[in-house]
Amino acid sequence: MVLTLGKMNKVVKDAMEALRGIQDGMTVMFGGFGLCGIPENCISALVELGIKDLTCISNNAGVDEFGLGLLLRKHQMRKMIASYVGENKEFERQLLSGELQVELIPQGTLAERIRNGGAGIPAFFVPAGYGTEVQGNKEVREFNGKMHVLETGMTADFAIVKAKYGDTRGNLIYNYTANNFNGPMATAGKITIAEVEELVPYGELDPNHIHTPGVFVQRIFQGTNYEKRIEFTTTRN
């Protein structure tokens, strides 16, 4: 494999090396929707590292025995920020016992807050949540005859994403619906880690097809042993 010589070579050996510098109490974004497109290798490494008191930002909280459920089981999460947290009994238990805090955000607002965190837009108005609990004490304003709520951009200490293809400079291409929150989150980490199924030398990916330009990615590695578990297998007949 031809690697970049200097610091543009963002390749690290594995999830352990990629997570260098992560600390208890940090805020971490995890790409994925349900179990689709989640950074499996880094989640496992975080369990191994035993990092605690994490604030996790992810659309969902995984299931009991997979995805972010693995961090839950080890009590490594202090707070979960998500749009939907079903499918997880341990989550339920920790929430009811008060061990875990949860902040629920409408999915589109969550995606846009992350996108805008990465895009240097500190605040913006959306219609979602107006007149609901989500509005809370937020500023509201009418535009074009419709009420809107002021939401803020969101970043994280680490953003951990998963892509199908990546190159040594951090350019990423996602597969099908495994793009989901990975694309926006890749832009919003102070440090963004990408784990990929196939790592190729830079220059091999078509520059017209890059979903996440390498500028957003600080560390990248080729993951191993992807399980890619399916939450609900539905088939024709």
Binding site: A111, Y174, I230
Partner: protein
Amino acid sequence: MALDKNGIAKRIAQELRDGYYVNLGIGIPTLVANYIPEGMDVTLQSENGLLGIGPFPEKDKVDADLINAGKQTVTYLPGAAFFDSAASFAMIRGGHIDLTVLGAFEISEQGDIASWKVPGKLVKGMGGAMDLVAAAKNIIVALMHTDKEGNSKLLKKCTLPLTGVKCVKRIVTDLAVIDITPAGFKLIERAPGVSVEQIVSATEAHLIVEGDIPEMKI
């Protein structure tokens, strides 16, 4: 006779128009996809980043990277496009989706909808529902007219935490098609064999009934 879930889905399918882009929620709304009229070209959007949802895959074509918003494995149709979640909700919020069909616990005569939270029960989250109801041009709600104890779900005011305010345009229940007008609920159609009186008595809020109310053609 009151409609079953498939009957509700069938009736909602009649609201589709050629060329529509449609987001179908989980539950009864998902069933609408089974009743898209022959020859009508409707594109289904899944808010996790797919425009052009196809049927469930053959057993050997299941792909973990290809799911719908209900996290079920799906396929994509020719002419589909994939995109990230921010782009997906930009599409929804920007009013580019013609129709959203979703379920609910309660609907008020103002068009408010409650669909995500029951105090005292575990809250799973609103997912994309608040974004969808706040932004779709046209929102149809599919629900049973009453709960299992016979309490109406069509209320003067919602009792549960809201998902959105003044957004629902039309309701299709097991008993009726009802529009939300500035004056409140207005009866449009009856389920086959269901009387106006039955519908009125199953509706807590005032129901506007003008002239003869036709039966649904299912």
